[in-house]
């Protein structure tokens, strides 16, 4: 026997400094150092060792402490590396509190044939396959036939519909350069899948079957042949089949003494063990007898047969069949695009005597462990069947057997067998528990991959964004957009900045980046008819060169969006939507065009990001526009409210719309977005003050202009908003019209949008506050009149104010109502929603 010949590696386990070799797993290195006990059990604190050599192990959970904390890894699957610090784990571990410095990523791969498992069956299948063949295997070594793409250290952990397979590749271990990902999720799309995942050895249940030094026979073989580690010197073998005999002869050849072979087929079994942190003896008896011979040993190998690794096949919805000669479930057949080969299909596995558990007398403390990680025993299974549970799935849930990190790879079949025995039923008639992804634990870090930090979710920005950043703007998230919220000057609070920005818009001249506004080009001979159907008001009679505000409702008559419609030409309109609804309204248009009115010749195209839109606002806006566009007659007579003109502004071809969302004299200047920054700078150079979304909200609220989605919630009609004027009485039909005739829509106590003025003009009502009728909050249930939708401190009004949806709100104008705020109840006066410049003289002048 030779140990791994490579590089020695220093590592620490439970505080002990140890040495292993390159190519070791943590488990093989521990065994080479004579350490069998890795952990203690979660419920009873019993010493637990290494029973497997791979993903099937149920016991050897460790916490990695360094180089980076990782909880609940199986020592049998952790490749050893220099400087590794780990400790044994009793059940749960601890997550790192600091961010993981390693890189995790994902990659897509496509192939004609995906072969999972590079054992003899998998390699043969890969060699025989045609086209693009991808072979994956969870072990670090191995080789692929020529012309086959091979991913080692790669565990296929999920098989989904249509040949979609997820696999995780461990590629950066131990410590990789920062730019190399430590783990990679492969998203594989295969035309055909060959599952060659082998089989897992099954233990046998007997009293005290959980002591360190009790190991699956095949695992001992693996430690010997792959890692050059002899797991013990005095070996007892307890088996139901021939495979453990091979293990015994190989260990004997390596120098171990095989002191006893206990073959269940000859009527013998192990009925108990001695030992503390390590097994010291096995009690051997005739099956059925309770007194046995004590045989000293330091390694007890167990084999109760082999379970084909049918997990991935089962995930692919393959049905399983009980194979009595194996004592295991095997694939019942191939799926259209999934084939199972080798041991995973039950091929070549040794016939076995079926022995789930050694008959043993009932004892006070049951130490016949079925699922060692869950500390679940035969008694637990019997308690489940005694409680009347007959389905394997229910027994699993009742006992928790098979729900630990190993998902019952060693315990599931045992639990099934013991259940069937207890119920006196045939396993062929029982449906096995369902296998679900992932096949092995996968870290959230790997699944998250690069979708973290700035790549977590796209941040959408306009072309002027760098200017906003450079000038200290604070930003607000609006959907995926980042919009300037306000532009604080040095030492200025948000409150002061917003007031200053509002004053600039009301008294001087100001500009904002309105580019996120949704914009849709609608053209075609039927465009007018189409818009008449979409909006509640008439659009087809809008004259070219003019602009109209419009409201859109769903079929239920509730407002879904609003905006302006510009008539660009006889058969062409430009529609604007709210920032958050741009995509939704385009889809809304397409839905009607494609499903209801395919005969229409109308074509809708998103131009949101083609245009930079800059509202230029305030009494001095005309003067500034006039200076920037010397060829444009900006007089009120030549360029009236709700009209548009094409002109050169600051030397850039622009479309200028005279519209206002602030109630001030205002223009919206549109240029192709790559010219946005230049136009913005030119306007700023004219002395205009930039303002953000908060000031925009204050300005529009002072005018009672609702924001769809803030002042409405999908239950609000145009009439509720006081916009009956925007609902056509002339049009034969439009979306939502029919709903306006419903009794519900005409109830006098619907909630209306109104203004609220707190009696104390310095109190700012929190948005979302409820409105009640009495000065004192009564005992519940409290009748709610409505709620505050928008609330601001207004420079123009010299006080705070709010917009609110209030039951029969318009009938209550002038009344005093009450808003509980914390422990206080604030009296408020109900007003109409327009609070500033009610005549619109500023806007129209």
């Amino acid at each position: 026997m030779t140990r791994l010949s490579g590089v020695p590696l220093k590592f620490t386990f439970d505080g002990r400094e140890l040495t292993g070799f390159l190519g070791d797993t943590l488990a093989s290195a521990l065994l080479a150092n004579g350490i069998h006990q890795v952990a203690t059990s979660i419920k009873h604190g019993r010493p637990r060792g290494i029973i497997g050599a791979g993903v099937e192990d149920s016991n050897a959970l460790v916490q990695i402490e360094k180089p980076f904390p990782e909880p609940m890894l199986s020592a049998t699957t952790v490749e050893l590396y220099d400087g590794l610090e780990a400790r044994g784990l009793r059940g749960q571990g601890r997550l790192a509190t600091e961010p993981d410095p390693a890189r995790y990523d994902a990659k897509h791969a496509h192939c004609d044939v995906l072969v999972i498992g590079a054992g003899p069956a998998g390699r043969a299948a890969a060699a025989a396959a045609e086209g693009r063949v991808l072979l994956v295997d969870d072990q670090p070594d191995g080789e692929a036939p020529e012309g086959v793409r091979f991913l080692s250290r790669t565990t296929a952990f999920g098989v989904y519909d249509d040949g979609f397979v997820l696999a995780v590749e461990r590629r950066g271990e131990p410590t990789a350069p920062e730019r190399i990902s430590r783990q990679r999720i492969w998203r594989i799309r295969a035309k055909r899948i060959v599952i060659a995942t082998g089989a897992h050895e099954r233990p046998i249940v007997f009293p005290d079957n959980d002591r360190p030094g009790i190991m699956l026979a095949g695992a001992a073989r693996t430690y010997l042949n792959r890692y050059g580690v002899l797991a013990g010197q005095r070996v007892v073998v307890f088996t139901t089949n021939d495979s453990a005999l091979d293990a015994a002869s190989e260990l004997a050849a390596a120098g171990a003494e095989i002191v006893r072979i206990v073959d269940a087929r000859e009527g013998y079994g192990v009925i108990g063990t001695d030992g503390g942190s390590h097994v010291t003896a096995a009690h051997v008896a005739k099956l059925g007898e309770t007194q046995g011979e004590r045989v000293e040993c330091d390694l007890l190998l167990v084999s109760g047969g082999w379970n084909p690794a049918v997990h991935l096949y089962s995930q692919a919805r393959g049905t399983l069949r009980y194979a009595p000669e194996l004592g295991a479930y095997v694939p019942a057949g191939d799926l259209p695009n999934v084939t199972v080969v080798g041991a995973a299909a039950g091929e070549g596995l040794p016939e076995t005597k079926i022995l789930w558990q050694v008959p043993a007398p009932e004892s006070e403390v049951d130490t016949r462990f079925v699922d060692q990680q869950r500390d679940a025993t035969v008694s637990d299974v019997l308690r489940a069947t005694g409680a009347g549970l007959r389905s394997l799935e229910h027994v699993k849930r009742y006992t928790t057997i098979g729900t630990a990190h190993d998902q019952g790879k060693t315990s599931g079949m045992l639990a099934a067998g013991i259940t069937a025995e207890a119920l006196g039923v045939d396993l062929a008639d029982r449906r096995p528990t369902t296998f679900r992804p992932p096949y092995t634990p996968v870290s959230f870090a790997a699944l998250a991959g690069r979708n973290r930090g700035e790549l977590h979710d796209p941040v959408r920005v306009t072309t002027i964004h760098p200017w906003h950043v450079e000038h200290g703007a604070e930003f607000e998230n609006v959907g995926q957009w980042k919009r300037p919220w306000y532009y604080p000057r040095r030492g200025e609070s948000m409150h002061d900045a917003v007031k200053r920005e509002c004053r600039a818009a009301r008294n001087d001249v100001a500009l904002m980046d309105g580019s996120t506004l949704g914009k849709i080009d609608v053209q075609g001979p039927d465009a007018g008819w189409f818009l008449d159907m979409l909006y509640t008001n008439m659009m087809s009679n809008l004259r070219v060169g003019r602009i109209r505000y419009g409201v859109m409702c769903g079929v239920d008559g509730m407002v879904i969006d609003d905006g302006t419609v510009i008539r660009v030409g006889e058969e062409r309109f430009l529609v604007t939507t709210t920032t958050g609804n741009a995509a939704k309204i385009l889809e809304w248009m397409e839905e009607w065009l494609q499903t209801e009115w395919p005969h229409l010749r109308v074509f809708a195209t998103s131009v949101t990001e083609h245009w930079t839109t800059i509202p230029l606002v305030g009494p001095r806006s005309r003067e500034v526009l006039g200076r920037l566009a010397p060829d444009l007659d900006v007089s009120n007579e030549a360029f009236g409210f709700m009209t548009w003109q094409d002109a050169e502004v600051a030397g850039i071809a622009a479309r200028v719309c005279r519209i206002s969302f602030s109630g001030e004299l205002a223009y919206e200047i549109n240029v192709p977005s790559w010219h946005g920054p230049a136009l913005w700078q030119s306007i700023v150079d004219q002395g205009a003050t930039p303002y953000g979304t908060e000031a925009m909200h204050v300005l529009r609220a002072e005018k009672g202009y609702p924001i769809i989605g803030q002042d409405t919630d999908g239950t609000v009609t145009p009439q509720d908003l006081g916009m009956s004027w925007a609902v056509s009485k002339k049009k034969a039909d439009f979306i939502g019209k029919r709903s306006f005739a419903r009794a519900e829509n005409n109830r006098p106590d619907r909630k209306h949008l109104v203004g609220l003025l707190p009696a104390d003009p310095s109190i700012l009502l929190p948005e979302g506050s409820q409105i009640i009728e009495s000065e004192v909050v009564p005992e519940p249930p409290v009748r709610m009149l409505g709620h505050v939708t928008s609330s601001y401190d207004s420079a123009a009004l010299g006080r705070t104010f709010a917009l609110a949806l209030v039951r029969s709100g318009r009938e209550r104008i002038g009344e005093t109502q009450y808003v509980p705020v914390g422990d206080e109840v604030v009296p408020v006066t109900v007003t109409e929603s327009v609070l500033f410049d009610k005549e619109g003289a500023r806007r129209d002048g």
Binding site: R103, D105, A106, K107, H108, A109, H110, R132, R179, I180, S181, R187, R189, R450, N451, E454, L455, D457, P458, V459, R460, V461, T462, T463, H465, W481, T516, D521, Q523, G524, R601, F603, T605, S606, V607, T608, E609, H610, W611, P672, S673, W674
Partner: protein, 172 residues
């Protein structure tokens, strides 16, 4: 392996809607998920009656005028999407021109595979698909010697950040 990513600003881009027709600007219309080229323009298939005409900067007015007679609708969307060209560096070991072209596609395909679920190995030149790259929509054109990618302008910061990040491992 290296990948060159070049932003091509100010390209002319026109959305064209045409329900019945065989050609535009003298160029055959592309079938689904392809593009055609000729007369200085690429015509990209974007939907059953929707095409995108891609041309050199400054040709908006000229092409819009030429197209207006032969289609149902034409809209200037030049600033709507940013255009990027991706190609791998020439591999001096490649012997025939086909190999050179293949190499030029292979390296960017390797980077794109981190976020694009399309099977780029088999997608022939002339293909044009609308798909997701990580978390942004893209239009992906396969050319003989690389890829042209169109990204909504507001997503282009995300796109370039993602591309730089995905390329990190391949930086030598």
């Amino acid at each position: 392996m290296t990948v060159d990513a070049v932003h091509e600003p100010f390209r002319t881009q026109l959305t064209v809607r045409l329900r019945d027709g065989r050609s535009l600007l003298g160029v055959d219309l592309p079938g689904p998920c392809t593009f055609t080229s000729g007369n200085g323009v690429d015509i990209l298939w974007m939907g059953p009656d929707e095409y995108l005409v891609l041309a050199e900067p400054g040709r908006q007015a000229e092409l819009e005028a030429a197209l207006s007679g032969e289609c149902d609708a034409v809209v200037d969307v030049s600033a709507q999407r940013n255009v990027y060209r991706l190609s791998g560096s020439h591999d001096p070991r490649a012997k025939c021109p086909n190999d050179v072209a293949l190499k030029r596609r292979e390296s960017p395909a390797d980077v794109l595979a981190h976020g694009c679920s399309i099977d780029l190995e088999v997608l022939p030149p002339g293909s044009c698909v609308q798909t997701l790259l990580a978390r942004t929509g893209i239009v992906l054109m396969v050319r003989e010697e690389g890829y042209t990618i169109l990204v909504r302008q507001s997503f282009s910061d995300y796109f370039t950040a993602w591309l730089a990040d995905a390329s990190l491992e391949y930086v030598s």
